[in-house]
Amino acid sequence: MPDKKTFSPLKQRERKVAYAILTVILIYYFIFSAFPTFFGVVLAFLDWTNVTAFPKWNWLGNFYKYFKSSFYRSALFRQMYIGTLCAGTTMLIAFFVALLLNMRIRGRGVFRTIWYIPAVTAGVATTQIFVSIMDPNTGPITGLLRFFGHGPIQWQFSTFWMVVWILIFNLWGSLGPTAVLWLAGLQSIDQQLYEAAAIDGANWWRSLLHVTLPGIRPIAVYALVVGFSGSVTVYEPVMFISRGGPWGTTNVAMYQLVTDAFYDFNLGMAGTNAMILTIVALIFALLNYKIMKGND
């Protein structure tokens, strides 16, 4: 840390200014971040079904309802498995994309850009593009199927296909940034390690295993933690493409939260949902962190 014992008069003034500014920021943070968090926890214990009515304390009633009813349980389960599916495939594929992008081809900057663009789009617009693309009547996918002699597939009525489309949508948007992240990790590996491995007679696969993978461990930790805990909040494709899927079969917990809170005004359950989701997200993050660190 820099030596702070010189420049004394400025130090006093600095500190006052620092305190003043920080106080404002902390007050803001308290009102809009800290307090909502506590409030959210309290919500989980309330029975509150109307913003204008008064809430009733419900102890663990909400939680009981949550875990007893297969409705909420399955919503949570779906959020988990769809989220993990998305996060896992994204990270895996993005890694190989990063390997490709790392190669010294001309115009790779352009490729990198193209891969990243979907990430700056707005979900609300791009989901509709996907709806249009997969339209069983006049969508290009149907055209492709027709080309191969297959009839149109009614995606909306199949849970399997809806999950596939959610996955595709998620991949489309997340591959870019994840690949860039992996790329940064790849490029931080000392080239000399590769040369040493080559001298020792390692082929492409072995150098990948023994140089690349260990080298990207730090980035991998970050990517896994962020990726998996971020996956807990997948909801845009559910909200705008499948709308809970064929008869609620892609109803993920996040979507249920939104429905509860803003359409049914069941604020208590929404709070419970939120709290459970948060806990799961934290557990995921912790697990990932432990696993990656534990391998050392």
Partner: protein, 277 residues
């Protein structure tokens, strides 16, 4: 990767009836391409409310990006360079609070907005009216302090040249002169990254206006599209789908342009967050 965007741009040239009969090829070029949809949006001739949405989007983006970067920069500098009691614990507790995914805070925030004392017909206890819902407040007040941004600025300042700052102090620079004229130019990459990422993020943000406001005049471009899509849930048919696609493309264009112009900062910034995170 770009295919969906190209596809949507093409579809935007259909009129709503022709769209239903579009060929199911990969690149449906319309028989009778019409500029109607794009014209409607760009020249606001048939729909002056669209201008309102665009204006809201622009003001909100500029405001939130500006405040966010400013707060992140100043707070980051404070945490990096100024010593004061309790600095460590405060910083780390702020960071821990960030582990909670933002979307789950929506419900408490919504209630807070609705029950804000003395706003929108509320009394001291926040009962009675609509509070701050359906006003400009949630659009412009929420989301200004971002701990990750503060953290990022702090890290880059700590890694930066102390000598320049010390030299400026010796020359008698006051605090504000110090940070704005000396430190800021050095930190341009980080600040640029924050500005771009946040700018694009706010521009694309449909969630907050969608759930915290209901009147037409508060909508932003992104949330307007969201409303059309949501309404369609009931009827299961959006009347003018090509228009929606065209609006989506218009929403995307500024982000793509900004991205092209500044991609260097984005890629660098992302990598830096990853390596330091």
């Amino acid at each position: 990767m770009l295919y969906p965007l190209i596809f949507a741009t093409l579809c935007g040239f259909y009129d709503s009836i022709g769209y239903l009969g579009r060929p199911d090829t990969l690149f449906p070029f319309p028989d009778k391409p019409t500029l109607d949809n794009y014209r409607k949006i760009i020249f606001f001739t048939t729909d002056p409310t669209m201008f309102r949405y665009l204006l809201n989007s622009i003001t909100r983006t500029v405001w939130l990006t500006g405040t966010r970067v400013l707060v992140a920069f100043v707070a980051g500098y404070i945490f990096a360079r100024i010593e004061f009691r309790g600095k460590g614990p405060i910083f780390w507790s702020l960071l821990i609070g960030r582990l909670i995914p933002g979307t789950v805070l929506i419900v408490p925030l919504y209630i807070q907005m609705a029950r804000w004392p003395f706003a929108g017909g509320n009394n001291l206890w926040g009962v009675g009216g609509k509070g701050l819902l359906d006003t400009y407040a949630p659009l412009f007040l929420l989301g200004i302090v971002d701990i990750i941004a503060i953290f990022l600025v702090r890290q880059t300042i700590l890694a930066g040249p102390l000598e320049l700052e010390e030299a400026a102090k010796i020359d008698g620079a006051g605090v504000s002169r110090l940070i704005f004229s000396v430190v800021a130019p050095i930190q341009k990459p980080v600040l640029a990254y924050l500005a771009i990422i946040n700018g694009i993020g706010v521009w694309n943000d449909w969630f907050t206006p969608f759930f915290f406001t209901s009147s037409q005049k508060y909508q932003v471009w992104a949330s307007y599209i969201a409303r059309i899509v949501q309404k369609a849930d009931r009827a299961y048919a959006i009347q003018n789908f090509p228009l929606v696609l065209a609006m989506g493309i218009i929403l995307t264009i500024p982000s793509v342009i900004i991205f092209f112009m500044f991609q260097r900062y984005i890629v660098e910034g992302l990598a830096r967050v990853g390596i330091k995170g």
